[in-house]
Symmetry: C2
Subunit: 309 residues, 2 copies
Amino acid sequence: MQNNSRCIVLGASGFIGSRLCEKLGEKYSNIKAFGRNPMYKDAFKKCKWIEGDFADANQIANAIGDCDTVIHLVNASTPASANINRVADLQANVVSTLNLLDACVNSGVKKVIFLSSGGTVYGVPSIIPTPEASENNPITAYGVSKLTIEKYLSLYYHLYKLDYCVLRVANPYGPYQTNKKNQGVISAFFQHAIHDEPIDVWGDGTVVRDYVFIDDVVNAIDLALTNNSPYKVFNIGSGVGISLNEIISTLEQAVGKSLAVNYLPGRNMDIPVSILDINRAKSHLNWQPLTPLHDGIIETYNWIKSSGL
Amino acid sequence: MQNNSRCIVLGASGFIGSRLCEKLGEKYSNIKAFGRNPMYKDAFKKCKWIEGDFADANQIANAIGDCDTVIHLVNASTPASANINRVADLQANVVSTLNLLDACVNSGVKKVIFLSSGGTVYGVPSIIPTPEASENNPITAYGVSKLTIEKYLSLYYHLYKLDYCVLRVANPYGPYQTNKKNQGVISAFFQHAIHDEPIDVWGDGTVVRDYVFIDDVVNAIDLALTNNSPYKVFNIGSGVGISLNEIISTLEQAVGKSLAVNYLPGRNMDIPVSILDINRAKSHLNWQPLTPLHDGIIETYNWIKSSGL
């Protein structure tokens, strides 16, 4: 990305947005960050902060008006909440994104980077590790919304030549992930461990996920800003599967004590195994994950301790 | 379908709905038809007619309350209109369908048959004839809406065991197709020919489509009512590609005179070639198209003349 181009991060105040704005702010001038009141304001000290609501089409149109590039990180729901009210999920995510895309066309935005969900857009995968061309049959409304947004991005590219790049991110973890609920198990489990609270595991802990460190995700977004490959959709993960029980024992080593685990009945929204095939990103985005799980976990643990969570 | 089960057709007053209700009404008792004021009331004389608006969730919930099976034919937009206002298209089609599916779960509906669009859900196909497992990158908002509804049907099946069958219908034609605009070119061109009006063709007439006669579509829906194959999504077409220019010369033979054609610039929503691979429906739905194009065209012409269109 050229340093004189303007880039806005939407949904900046969350986990990925905070780290992304911190890193992009160090590297580029003219980064704008749009979102709700952030928990960690220091992450945005080198960005122009704009407080606002993604659901407000006028605020969005004003915010992106002078930008070349939009990075869309907004998650107006979680996999669990989206399944409870699918209409609200669709309105908050897809309809708001359509309003955003219309505003992009109207104001001459050149490219949209969208963070999609590698863990949900495929549904129960028939191929593991799962490549981008696999069938998409999400088993959560969250996954359907993400997939629908991907399809609209493809449509706007066709209709208006609005360029785009979709990053289907696996299970990201690392500094700024603060949710104590089960989104982001590494951070959530650490917080429970520090406070000597038992952790809840749905199922028997054998579900396998693909964990990718936040700084590797940030690097993928940075590369996507300038990527000109014919591919528009990339899996971003480690390419390696780790079970929840393995995560728990790795965390136990990091904190130096056993964790109390409540094993609860499995949920029908949980896919048994999710591992992404990341060869396309390696070949065509010039990206690869650089942070070994152990190093990422230690960095996450140190950050959580220092943050007072 | 057992004759004591109740089936409702939503979007009954349109082209497919009218012929479907006429045919199902002859075969089964307890067919309900829901829709806006129909042009051809006689088509519904053996059904229970319910006037209503698909966008009204309460009306839909009341209408389906005592039904086992829902046949969802509603098109709240056309490929051209959907591209102009994508948010309205999403609201009218997808949000309303989510309300329908919630009502189905609440009232114990067992199965939903959804008529999707074989001509738009694939986008520009990489394989011709196009099988169901091909990539979906629609180049119209209409196609994105249809595809999104398919994904929600798969989700509701996963979450609630609400069974479903998606029929991706190619270009249907035949009696009750009355639109003089370019949806349904066979009927539209005939109407123009009868009134000695020139017909408009976007592009040079070489675009190839897969035309399937309405009674073959009705037969596919009838078979879907009882289909228990592991497949939930079927292409319904002729499996054969016909160019617009071939259609025009076939119509010229039928009417016994030349048609005046205005060739207009091509539209970026028109896919050059769309032909469906129908082998899955042959093998697993026990369906095949039975009406040769020439016979279907003559039957359509006779119907248009008798209807006074």
